[in-house]
Amino acid sequence: MDGFSGLLHGFSVALTWYHVMLMVVGVLLGILVGVLPGLGAPNGVSLLLPLTFTMDPVSAIILLTSMYWGALFGGSTTSILFNIPGEPSSVATTFDGYPMAQNGRATEALSFAFLSAGFGAIVGVLLITALSGWVTQFALKFSSPEFFGVYFLAFASFVGLSGAPPLKAAVSIALGFSLAAVGMDSVSGSLRLTFGYDVLLAGISFLVAVIGLFGIGELILTIEDGLKLDGIRAKITPRDVLRTAAQMPKHWATLLRSSIVGCWMGITPGGPTAASFMSYGLAKRFSAYRANFGKGEPDGVIAPETADHSAGTSAMLPMMALGLPGSATAAVMLGGLMIWGLNPGPMLFVERPDFVWGLIASMYLGNVVAVVLVLATVPLFASILRIPFAIIGPLIVVVCFIGAYTIAGRPFDLWLALGFGILGYVFKKLDYPIAPLILAMVIGDKAEDAFRQSMIMSKGSLTIFWSNPLVTGLMLLGLVLLFWPLLGALRQRLRPSPA
C-alpha cells in the first residue's frame, strides 16, 4: 500500500473523535512545554511516554507527535515575545521576531511564524506521503563525509554573513566549539575539558546556554535599560491574522527554499536547529532587504520557522523507515515505538500500514489543529505582556531557572545558566554575536565526530571529501557560500557601478 490509497486508509484510522481529542490534548500540552524554556519537546515527550504504555500504538504516537507539534509552535511564541527561545530550534526566530515585536508588530510576527510553520509542516508531510520509498534510499547515501559536508554547509551558509566583525564572530565560534567539546568524546572514548569535575562529565547542555545567553542575558539588559519591555502589543484579532495571511504568497521564495532546507535536514538528519539556522542564513543572503535582517524583517521569521517545522515533521520518516531519529524528540519516540512492540525499519511500512499511515494522516490533521489552537492562545500570552516588568521580570527569571533545572535535573546547570546569562550580557555590550556561538555548540561536536570518523575511514586522507559526487557537491556548495561575500565584493569592483 502506498501513496494515496495508504493515506486514505490512514485518515480512516486517524479521523475518530478519540484521536482528534488526543491531538487537542497533545497540542495543548505541547504548547505548554514549548513555552517553558528548557522543558522542551524531548523532555515533554519522555514525561508523557509512560502514560502511553497501555495505549494502542496508533493512539500513542498521535498523542506524542501532537505534543511535538504543539511544542514547536509554543517555542516560537516566547522567542518572538520575550526573546527567549522555548526550543533550541526557535533560536533563529528571535533574530527578527523579537525586533518585530519591539516595533509593535508582534501580531504580524506571530502570525507569520505560525502560518509559515504550518506551511513547512504540511510540506514535510506531503514529502513523506509522496516520497516514502525514495527518500529512505537517499538517506542511506549519507555517511560521515557527507554529514560533515552538511554541517560545513550549515556553517558556511550562516557564518559568512553575520554582520559582526569577522574576528568577533571567530571568537564566538571558537568559544562555541570548546563548549561543545566538554564531556565524553565518542570517537576516542576519553573525557575532555572536564578538569576532573564530575558535573562536566555529561558536557554542557546547549539548552542551558540558550536559556542563559538569551533569557537571562536579555533580562539583565532590560533592567539596565530601565525596567520595561517596550512596545509589545500582541493583541490578535482575526482581521490582523487574515491580513498577514494575505501577505504570505509574497514570500513564496523564502517559504519554498526554507521548506526544501528543512525537509532535507529532517531526513539526512541534520535536525531542526541546524535547519532553522541554515535557512535563516540563506534567506538573508538571497533577500533584497538584507540590511533589514536582524531589525525585524518578516522573511527572517518565516525562514527559520518554515525550516524548523518541515525538518520536525520530515524527521518522522527516517525514524520509522530507518530507525534513525532526525531530532532529539524523534529519538524519544523511537524508544516508544519499541516499547509498543514495533520494530522501526523499512518493513514497518509493510507490516503495520495502519500505524504508519495513521501517523502520517494524523500529521496533516495535528498540524492544522495546532495552528488553530496556537493562534487562539496568543491573546493569553499577549495579556501576560501587559503585566508590569517588575512582576513579569522575576517570573521570567524563575521560569528560566526552572527550565535550566528540568533539562537534566542537575543543580550545577543553574550556575551554568547564570554564568551564560552574564556572558550573554557581556557579549551584547561588546557587540560580539551570540548566534555563531550557539551554532557551534549545536552542531560543533557532530561536525567534529563526522570529520574524525571520515579521517578514520580514509586513514587520514582529506580526499574522502571529494570521493563521490554527493560529498563533492556539498563541499563545493559550502565553499561557494563561505566565500560569497568576497565574490560579491569582487563582482562589484569589476563591474562599474551604474549609480
Binding site: 509512560p50 565518542s186 523511537l334 516499547i339 537534566a408 575511514m457
Partner: protein
C-alpha cells in the same frame, strides 16, 4: 584487592540483611536512573520494566525514569556516589557499570554500587551487507586477513562493547579491521545498509528491521549456543539458522552483554532484596517474555552468587582486552 573485599562485604551484608530484615518497603517515589539517553537499549530495558511494574502494581509507589546517559553512562553510575545509601535510586545499565572505571577517570568506583540483578543477556552478531560476497563468517574473516586494515567495522562509541568485541575478534582470528565509532546502533546499522562500512556487531534488535528488509544479513552469533528459533525473520531464515561463531570457524566462544540493575552502596538492609524480588516477578511475566523474544535477547535472571560469578568472569575477559589495547587509565 580492596575492590574485591568491598564487593565481598557488600554481598555478605546483602545476604545477612535478607534474613534479618525481610520487610524493607519503599515509602516514597522511586527514581529509575537510566545510564543511556532516551531511545537506547538500556532506556528500553528500563521503561519496559517500569511499564510491567505499573501494570501488575508490583510497587505501590510512583516510579520516575530519568535519563543520565552522559559520559557513556558514567553520569548515571555517579548517582551511586552522590546518592550513596539512598534506596530510592535504582540504576539500570549494562556491563559498563564495572568496565567504565577502567577506561576513563571517573568519580565513582565499582565498589560504590550494590548489585541487585541482571535480567537478560544481549547477543552480538557479525553482520555484513546483504549483497556482500561472503557466504560464511570464515569467508569474511579470511578476506579481512588477506587485506589487513582495509575492512571497516562499525560500532557504537569507543572503548565500549563493540570495540572490545572487534578487538577480541581481531586477535582470535588474526584479522585487522578499521574500527569506526558512531553514536549508536541505529546509525551503525544505516551505515552498513548504505554500504559505507563492511560489517558491524549489532545486537539482534538493532538490525532486525534491516535484515527483514534484505539490506543486511548476519553471518554468526557470538553465543555459546544458537539463538532460539522463534518465527522466521526473512522468507527462509530465522534466528536459529545463524551458526554460532565457533561453529563458523571463528575461535570466539562467547560475547554477551548483561542488562544489569544496581543500587548505591550502603543502602538499608533488605532494599536490594526488595528490588530483586520485584525484578524476579517482572522476569516471570508474559510481557517480559514477549520483550525478550521480540528483542532476541537471552532471558537469564542472575542475582547473588550467580551474578557475582558472571561479573567476575566478564570483568576478567574485558580487562585482558583493555590491557592489550592500552585503554586503561591510570
Amino acid at each position: 584487592m580492596a575492590r574485591k573485599f568491598g564487593m565481598a562485604l557488600g554481598f555478605l551484608a546483602a545476604g545477612m540483611a535478607g534474613a534479618a530484615a525481610q520487610g524493607w518497603q519503599p515509602t516514597k517515589p522511586i527514581e529509575f536512573v537510566v545510564t543511556s539517553s532516551p531511545g537506547g537499549g538500556t532506556d528500553n530495558f528500563t521503561r519496559m520494566i517500569q511499564s510491567i511494574i505499573m501494570k501488575y502494581k508490583l510497587i505501590d509507589q510512583p516510579i520516575v525514569v530519568s535519563n543520565k546517559g552522559g559520559g557513556s553512562g558514567a553520569e548515571g553510575y555517579l548517582v551511586s556516589k552522590t546518592a550513596a545509601g539512598d534506596p530510592y535510586k535504582v540504576i539500570f545499565g549494562t556491563n559498563n557499570a564495572y568496565l567504565l572505571p577502567y577506561v576513563a577517570k571517573l568519580g565513582y568506583k565499582f565498589s560504590d554500587l550494590t548489585p541487585v540483578a541482571a535480567l537478560a543477556l544481549d547477543e552480538f552478531l557479525l553482520w555484513v551487507k546483504a549483497d556482500a560476497p561472503y557466504k560464511t563468517a570464515k569467508d569474511y574473516v579470511e578476506a579481512a586477513k588477506a587485506k589487513p586494515e582495509t575492512y571497516k567495522m562499525g560500532g557504537s562509541q569507543s572503548k565500549d562493547t563493540d570495540q572490545t568485541l572487534t578487538s577480541i575478534l581481531s586477535t582470535a582470528a588474526g584479522a585487522k579491521f578499521i574500527y569506526v565509532p558512531f553514536q549508536g546502533g541505529g546509525a551503525v546499522g544505516t551505515q552498513l545498509a548504505g554500504g559505507h562500512i563492511n560489517s558491524h556487531t549489532n545486537n539482534p534488535n538493532e538490525s532486525i528491521g534491516q535484515w527483514k528488509a534484505g539490506q543486511v544479513r548476519p553471518l554468526c552469533v557470538f553465543s555459546p549456543a544458537r539463538l532460539p528459533a522463534g518465527p522466521k525473520v526473512t522468507e527462509t531464515q530465522g534466528w536459529a539458522d545463524i551458526p554460532t561463531c565457533k561453529e563458523a570457524g571463528i575461535p570466539v566462544e562467547r560475547f554477551q552483554m548483561p542488562r544489569t540493575v544496581w543500587l548505591p552502596a550502603g543502602t538499608p538492609a533488605g532494599a536490594a532484596q526488595f528490588y530483586e524480588g520485584v525484578l524476579k516477578k517482572v522476569s516471570e511475566t508474559p510481557e517480559w517474555q514477549e520483550y525478550i523474544t521480540r528483542t532476541v535477547q537471552t532471558g537469564q535472571f542472575l542475582s547473588g552468587d550467580s551474578l557475582k560469578a558472571f561479573v567476575a568472569n566478564d570483568d576478567k575477559l574485558s580487562r585482558e582486552v583493555f590491557e592489550r589495547e592500552g585503554w586503561i587509565v591510570k
